[in-house]
Symmetry: C2
Subunit: 298 residues, 2 copies
């Protein structure tokens, strides 16, 4: 059985033993309800460090009052089995009181990166994420921490916060794992009815179409509008956003054709379930140029 | 000459050598313009750790636009001489760009403890303090960090933040150092005219009087009102606050007599210069009771 730490004292004792033996450590923070997407992050962590710690913590402060904290899927037995088979060395599964003892008052925020996209729809979400991730990184002091690109904006915020606070950890992003229809794996996919499961893969399909149009030189504004319209036609009840942003800073690009690495990000709802997804986009001519430049250098 | 680190890389290299040699480390964060108050913190640090690091950094984010960032007293040559004579082992004097590189976006706040007293008058001050102190603690990874009780609310906020984020450091408060007239030493005292220097010690005098009245069982509300009136009569142009609060949590006490350890905190202005000060207060009968209990235990 994979070892389990329930308190930061147990966590730090185990980490200290690895440190003494000069074993490098990777942390994979999760909210449990694990799927192949999480396991791919564990595999990435295994490839980069001697010991892999996965945290299982459904963080209440990143849920708004009207969100699904109470019903968020939890299955610790299965999570432990999956982590063991994936080669995880330590599970850190603290209680809410262990992370947020009485009187807890500190908030970490990255305001400019949390003002738009997910942050516009979920105003306190990213402060909840940033605070708990900073705390987990400080508790576990890993050399490497792995987060999925599925939560692309979250990944950008964590990179920024680690840089700003000089936390001595390397942040790695893991590519999105999808099912055979292209739907990005998510713990929240269990909420989908079978009719909604038919519609859901359209999110990725239209994001890929948007990326192809951007690659061909279509204007950002048109691509965003047409993907939004197509998602509505496909049966999504609400489209929170489809936006094309700079791949690294997530800044707005102009309304015209993209000129550098971009990311197309979207959130749309099927009934009460909110799906998010994102894909990379780059102009084909620029990609071709870059490939040529790389070949010349060889 | 005391060694100086200008970058976090230099700082961490020196810290790593001490760690390798199992030398414990104390950090004393300052904004320079050092006086005997700071030197007492260095002495406290020396008594508690094998190596003492003092940081000199006038943190722009804790000053409001209308405050004295530009004119804040700076004298690095004298600061270095004082730190050397006090037995400081390393001076960390980073530039603003080293602490806040382009794109810096992270804010750490402790909202409930920053909503009143200094925080009411200086709304963004404590977020600036909390962010830079957390960053310095993460950069220097000291075993102990020392802060003056002069900034009593700041000390409470830092204790809270360290507890909340599980930063592995012990926070020590150093008692206030006063001149012969009782005026708390402050880098900002240089702003006072000679006429203002005559008035300034009244701040401490009336705080001590307030503490005596509280000790005798006078009501909080009356003590606050009478100290405020006396400060105005003494010549202070504005009294921002005189408040009696719980010594540990800084929570409001009732309007009546205090029942446990309290702190009397005040801020008042002499022209453009703002002075803050604070003293401990406890009911004499309870103090006597505690002394008896302690004697019985022996």
């Amino acid at each position: 059985m994979t070892e389990v730490a329930r308190t930061r004292t147990e966590l730090r004792a185990r980490i200290a033993r690895w440190r003494r033996d000069r074993v490098s450590i990777a942390l994979v923070p999760t909210m449990g309800a694990l799927h192949e997407g999480h396991l791919s992050l564990i595999a990435l962590a295994r490839a980069r460090a001697g010991a892999v710690v996965a945290s299982l913590f459904v963080n209440p402060t990143q849920f708004a009052a009207d969100e699904d904290l109470a019903s968020y899927p939890r299955d610790e037995t299965q999570d432990h089995a999956l982590l063991e088979s994936a080669g995880c060395d330590l599970i850190y599964a603290p209680s809410v009181a262990e992370i947020y003892p009485a009187g807890f008052s500190t908030v970490i925020a990255v305001p400019p990166l949390a003002a738009f996209l997910e942050g516009a729809v979920r105003p306190h979400h990213f402060a909840g994420v940033a605070t708990v991730v900073a705390k987990l990184l400080i508790q576990a002091t890993p050399d490497v921490a792995v987060f999925g690109e599925k939560d692309y904006q979250q990944l950008a915020i964590i990179r920024r916060l680690v840089l700003d606070l000089d936390l001595p950890v390397e942040i790695l992003g893991g590519t999105i794992v999808r099912d055979a229809n292209g739907l990005a794996l998510s713990s929240r996919n269990v909420y989908l009815s079978s009719a909604q499961c038919e519609i859901a893969p359209a999110l990725h399909r239209f994001l890929e179409a948007a990326a192809r149009d951007l690659a061909a030189g279509d204007a950002v504004k048109l691509v965003e509008a047409s993907a939004t319209a197509e998602l509505k036609t496909a049966g999504f009840s609400t489209v929170d956003y489809v936006e094309v942003r700079a791949a690294d800073t997530l800044e707005h690009l102009g309304p015209g054709p993209i000129t550098g690495p971009a990311r197309v990000l979207a959130a749309a709802r099927l009934g009460k379930t909110r799906l998010i997804d994102n894909v990379a986009a780059q102009r084909s001519d620029q990609l071709a140029e870059r490939r040529r430049a790389l070949q010349l250098r060889r």
